[in-house]
Symmetry: C2
Subunit: 444 residues, 2 copies
């Protein structure tokens, strides 16, 4: 349902909010991503908004002003909240009705555009004056491992003769992550302390991680949940997803290497996960649906519960991604961040639809606001490796910054920025905004 | 603070609630565990209560009736909720004040006992007429692996020559579990479907698990949280814990074996976790504090952040545990469940204090209501193995039930009951109640 483009995707549509039409914004009228914000200095609680150009439309205020009717009005009422969970729970028809109503309110060529700009103008808040929040209460956060390029690179470092484990091509591998330490873009990241055991040392050390890394990921928020004991089919799974964000799964590689057997990563990841503030809806992504990654010859087909004709046609999403880093010295010297890699979500071995269907296949209940991470999005090329572990081959091949500084892993003061966007002929370019964090020294 | 016995632990104390004094109840006046209940058929939302004998004291109703003063009144006000989280957040002084006030209200030898029984009697609900709930909103559920006997047994099956991984004696191994599927005792367990790959088969199968297991565990609820970036010291960690419960970490062993590498268990566990409804407070457990498990000669000492003089003296808790199973046929024939194993929490290699301090050592924030599972509580003896995987040695040595039925793993209709209690000379015996679940066939 949400994967079929409609008039809200018309690339010719423009808004009476001028900054939405400049051709460079991540937030043209065809995007309309949801987030939770508060006008800086305002005493009232955070509320739901939609990004348009360099502004935010206060959807809760629109609801109070009774600017919507029918299903859109019901959906807007669910936005009178400090989190997206209530809206997420309503489902695709409600989300779509609200999207269409907001589109009508903001489009320049609407018959009532003048009245709309008069009434709605005061309900726009400049993004520069807004504080943004983690947009949902995340009941459970699950992180997958869906890039075969990432899994193969990491596996090769650990097991040179057997890089990819036998389950990988059958099982969308995932694990439970930590919900409490999910942060919104901009929050600083404190370097974690933990146990590590460098080679040749008998007794492990306890101190600040020396191998702090980022992971370039995409997150998917669950919209409508499923009851415990009621699996979700692959063809239904997309309708359970509300939208996507950028996600940085900060990782302490030295702690991870020592702790991860046999139950998986724990403290190496649980100190922080950063998400972008804007959730790009599945409907906004409809023009960018593509066939999923083509499995190489000889790879097995997915098992039937992870395969369908509709999924084969349009199970993937073409999202371009990049990670950029700046050191403190670069920023002091006025230099821009440098792009370290560039990859694409459509290159993942498993799609979000498959991840969600697999997640619920044992009857596990997903709830509105639950977050699924894709795992590091790496591609086959060297410059498409989505974390430093891969990019520097576990530190053996450091990258050089424009200042001449070298980086095997992140140093204190380094700032990591993830970006994502969709573009193709015949569609308006839409973007995800930024997912940013700066590394602070470990506390003592 | 909470580990020093006081007059609420006096074994001579009795209650005017007669069933609390029969010598067999899990809930004498020295226990006073907290839970969330609703009188069967009542229209009002669930509320906080305390178990006393075969009744439940409605603490929220006591608060509305203004039966408490000072800190106890504040703590009781936090019980006007459908979850324990608000009470948990208040901290040990508040918990203790409320415990003492409830103790005074219920004790038989109080000067005002007659008035108390008159006023409070109507606020008691028979447990037989109550519906019980998962007592807290669990933001994050973490499961540890703290029994060296369990870890060694499981490791021996996987890696006969190298059963215990090198990190085990340094790192309290744990992983994130699934919060959404935490169930209260009595909820049936639907056999999960999932991928398995039996030996000799190339393409994995997808169907109902054939190796469904229980795990006998103890859970600890976090009371007061810590801020992100602010570790908790070992000596402070007990004050962050509110109390303990029983926990059954249902596990599909065939799914687990196929999926768990490299990121740990996922769908093999996420279909259900059962907790007992009553939370036995850390203060109630004070008389049962013991020195932690004695590490065998040659084992390393814990690293300094997991070691202290106070912890060496009383970091452990002596809780006896058992698991009993009945088949459908046993129940049809009127037979009682048969005990399969009997173990003790004090035999764990890592204490809950160490688990909590380790969990927060990287700065990870724990929140009120978070749940820490101990991992399977196994002892050194064969009859102290806390799951069927160990007890039947991966199915090779099935157990025989009184009907003559044999069990390698759980069959549909099997009911698993966990029990726990504390007893020692000079203290009143206190118990945890039951943690129970029956296995239903997998849905198709």
């Amino acid at each position: 349902m949400t994967s079929i483009p409609n008039h809200t995707h018309d690339p010719r549509a423009v808004s009476w909010v001028a900054s939405a039409n400049d051709g460079t914004t991540d937030f043209p009228i065809q995007n309309l991503p949801f987030g939770v914000f508060r006008q800086a200095g305002a005493a009232r609680p955070p509320t739901v908004g939609v990004a348009i150009g360099d502004h935010i439309l206060d959807v809760a205020a629109c609801s109070r002003a009774a600017l919507f009717e029918g299903a859109a009005a019901d959906a807007a009422a669910a936005c009178r909240s400090s989190r997206l969970n209530e809206l997420m729970a309503l489902g695709p028809a409600a989300w779509s009705a609200l999207r269409h109503a907001i589109f009508d309110l903001l489009r320049a060529d609407h018959a009532d555009a003048d009245r709309h700009s008069e009434v709605v103008g005061p309900l726009l808040v400049p993004q520069a004056q807004a504080e943004l929040f983690v947009p949902a209460d995340v009941g459970d956060y699950t992180d997958f491992y869906a890039s075969v390029f990432h899994a193969t690179n990491v596996g090769r470092m650990m097991r040179p003769d057997n890089p990819l484990l036998p389950n990988y091509k059958y099982v969308p591998i995932g694990y439970h992550g930590r919900s409490s330490s999910i942060l919104v873009s901009g929050a600083p990241i404190r370097r974690p302390w933990g146990q590590t055991r460098p080679e040749g040392v008998e007794v492990p050390l306890f101190g600040p991680s020396k191998r702090l890394d980022y992971e370039l990921e995409v997150g998917a928020y669950v919209g409508v949940g499923n009851d415990l004991g009621s699996p979700v089919t692959l063809d239904d799974s997309d309708a359970h997803l509300f939208g996507l964000c950028l996600l940085n799964d900060w990782s302490a590689r030295d702690m991870q290497a020592w702790e991860y057997q046999p139950l998986g990563p724990f403290l190496a990841k649980s100190f922080a996960t950063t998400v972008s503030p804007w959730v790009v809806t599945m409907e906004a992504l409809a023009p960018f649906r593509v066939a999923p990654f083509t499995r190489p010859d000889g790879d097995p087909a997915p098992l039937p519960y992870l395969d369908s004709a509709a999924h084969k046609a349009a199970g993937g999403i073409d999202v371009q991604l990049e990670v950029a880093v700046s050191s403190q010295r670069m920023r002091d010297e006025g230099m821009a961040a440098v792009r370290l890699s560039h990859s694409n979500l459509s290159q993942m071995y498993w799609t979000f639809g498959q991840m969600a269907a697999h997640h619920a296949s044992n009857g596990c209940n997903l709830r509105p606001g639950d977050l699924l991470g894709s795992g590091t999005v790496s591609g086959p090329e060297t410059d498409a490796r989505g974390c430093l572990l891969e990019l520097t081959w576990r530190g053996a091949e450091p990258v050089t910054l424009p200042t001449g500084e070298r980086r095997a892993f992140l140093e204190d003061g380094d700032e990591v920025t993830l970006r994502g966007w969709c573009e193709r002929d015949g569609a308006a370019r839409i973007g995800f905004g930024e997912c940013r964090g700066v590394v602070l020294p470990g506390s003592t």
